[in-house]
């Protein structure tokens, strides 16, 4: 009996110690091995082969690949972005396994389209994937909206208007699609159209990353509008004093503005020599083209805060 207890105690201790040691060792191995080559690899890249191998349980496998696609994107994005070369294969496998997984098409429409380091920058594949989605889900207006959005981003307003029109003809389609079809046909390149598009995306999506992406674009539109409004006022100051203002305080003193203008994240705009208006926290405003400080080097993208 005593011998048996002793064996139990020794075996139990060995079990615990060995498992803890194994966990610690595998952590050390993980530190030694580079993570990227492992993550940038698909063991089986053929959706057809995967569909055969899963013996009819393709729904679960599609969910696994979809989760993997989201985690791959999120992981790459949090490390500063990149070319996301696995994003299309992962989304392609997901949608081939389960052609009704709408969330995957929505994700593809946004992040295959966006340029690196925010996305894969592959609009052709984004179009192909979303079109595959419309073929397999012909009654889902969201996919026509996503398709229209891709064409809009490519400044192909004609195809964009056509996709909006097709979506608007579906049962249960959002009335917004009909308006957008007309708006796109007449005023495709307007800032107002852009605001309408991103606002609709922000309000209709359930995906947090897509929502954050839309919020970031809306902030950029706001900055563009702010600069469009402020630049004539700077010019007015110069016309009055013969020089550019060094700060917004001078413009307040001159009675041209009432307070220091704030960007969409409530940070004050700054004035650079030559009357150039810039944002003070460009890292928090990805996708910005105008208003960047001189010599600014973009940091890893940051899609928060959402609101």
């Amino acid at each position: 009996m005593i011998a048996s207890r002793r064996v139990t105690a020794i075996a139990g201790t060995l079990l615990v110690c060995s498992m803890v040691s194994a966990a610690l060792l595998i952590q050390a191995v993980d530190d030694l091995r580079p993570a990227a080559p492992l993550q940038e690899m698909l063991y089986i890249s053929s959706p057809k082969l995967l569909k055969r191998l899963c013996l009819g349980y393709d729904g679960l496998l599609a969910d696994i690949y979809w989760t993997r696609a989201v985690q791959y994107f999120g992981g790459t994005h949090s490390r500063g972005g990149g070319t996301y070369k696995l994003l299309w294969p992962l989304l392609n496998i997901t949608t081939q396994l389960d052609p009704h997984l709408i969330a995957a098409y929505e994700f593809a429409g946004t992040f295959l389209l966006a340029k690196p380091p925010e996305g894969a920058g592959d609009p052709a594949k984004a179009i192909a994937l979303v079109q595959y989605g419309t073929q397999n889900n012909p009654n889902d207006w969201h996919l026509f909206y996503d398709l229209a959005f891709i064409y809009y981003d490519l400044k192909d307003y004609r195809n964009s208007a056509f996709a909006f029109l097709r979506g608007s003809q579906l049962p249960d389609a959002h009335p917004f699609l009909k308006i957008m079809a007309a708006q796109m046909a007449e005023h495709g390149g307007d800032l107002n159209t852009a605001r309408m598009m991103w606002t609709a995306t922000y309000e209709t999506t359930h995906d947090k990353m897509i929502r954050a992406n839309a919020a970031a674009h809306l902030r950029v539109i706001q900055v563009d509008e702010d600069l469009t409004g402020l630049e004539p006022l700077v010019e007015k100051y110069r016309a009055r004093t013969g020089r550019f203002p060094e700060s917004f305080t001078e413009m307040i003193s001159a009675g041209i503005i009432r307070s220091i203008p704030l960007d969409p994240l409530r940070h004050p705009y700054r004035l650079e020599p030559g009357g150039r208006i810039v944002v003070s926290n460009p890292d928090e405003l990805p996708f910005l083209d105008q208003g960047l400080p001189s010599g600014y080097v973009p940091r890893p993208p940051k899609l928060s805060p959402v609101d």
Binding site: L55, G56, Y57, D58, G59, L60, D98
Partner: protein
């Protein structure tokens, strides 16, 4: 069902319970609990989809493994333990023995599936906080899974009536795999000509069509399952199982047990 078949079925059920077959429910419960808790953190927008896909796939795989590994030993174990001779020395016909074993294991799998179904719906309720009318489709998918179990039980019993457990397991598993490709076999036969076409077409209809009994992805998306599919699949599973059981009886009746 006559009383002798009923008694053999009841004993088969009791034996399965004694063999701790229902312990798989613990593994299933842990899997569903973990899925329900984790799914919201790792999946975006598809929490319900994942719970339904994962739950129904697990029910199906757990049941198929049980059907094969219990089914293959139903006859051979009785021969090895020599208990079969005791049973057959009584007024029990060989076909009654096969039928009893079939109903016993099928009953075990139905009870097992019932408890796993409760697990699936509990996880679904945890993830989405409410049920919608399309969740009724999950019940239909579960019913189709039970039909799959019935066919596999019949197949395992068939192989068990003349082969060793290890070969019976291999045969039953491969028939399950080939049965999942039944539709592909039919498509393949359409591309061939002459004798090959006849052979492939024959093989396609000979193997059980498990792909027709799989509506997991469909119900996960809330798509309705047509009533005529339910009726036809039910009849198909019954007819196919009767055919396989008849073959098992034919072999077992002629088997020399000395």
């Amino acid at each position: 069902m006559n009383s002798r078949v009923f008694h053999i079925a009841t004993n088969t059920f009791r034996e399965a319970v004694r063999d701790r077959v229902l312990y798989n429910l613990i593994g299933f419960a842990l899997l569903m609990s973990a899925a329900a808790v984790l799914v919201g953190q790792v999946s975006i927008q598809i929490e319900r989809l994942v719970v339904i896909n994962l739950g129904l796939t697990a029910v199906s795989l757990f049941g198929i493994v049980i059907a094969i590994f219990i089914g293959i030993g139903l006859v051979s174990k009785e021969i090895d333990k020599r208990t079969l001779y005791t049973v057959l020395s009584r007024p029990v016909r060989r076909w009654e023995f096969i039928a009893g074993k079939f109903f016993g294991l099928s009953g075990t799998l139905v009870v097992n599936t019932f408890f796993m179904a409760i697990g699936v719906f509990a996880a679904l309720a945890y993830v989405s906080h409410h049920f919608v009318s399309s969740d009724f489709g999950v019940l239909i998918a579960l019913y189709f899974i039970v039909l799959q179990f019935i066919i596999i039980t019949a197949l395992a019993l068939f192989f068990s009536s003349f082969s060793t457990p290890i070969f019976s397991a291999i045969f039953a598993f491969w028939l399950f795999v080939i049965g999942s490709f039944a539709q592909d076999l039919r498509n393949f036969s359409a591309m061939t000509h002459g004798l090959v076409r006849w052979l492939v077409t024959g093989a396609a209809y000979l193997v059980p069509n498990f792909s027709a009994l799989n509506v997991i992805t469909q119900v996960a998306h809330g798509e309705p399952v047509p009533l005529n599919l339910i009726v036809l699949n039910t009849i198909y599973a019954l007819v196919y199982s009767i055919a396989v059981l008849s073959a098992a009886v034919l072999i077992f009746e002629r088997r020399n047990l000395k």
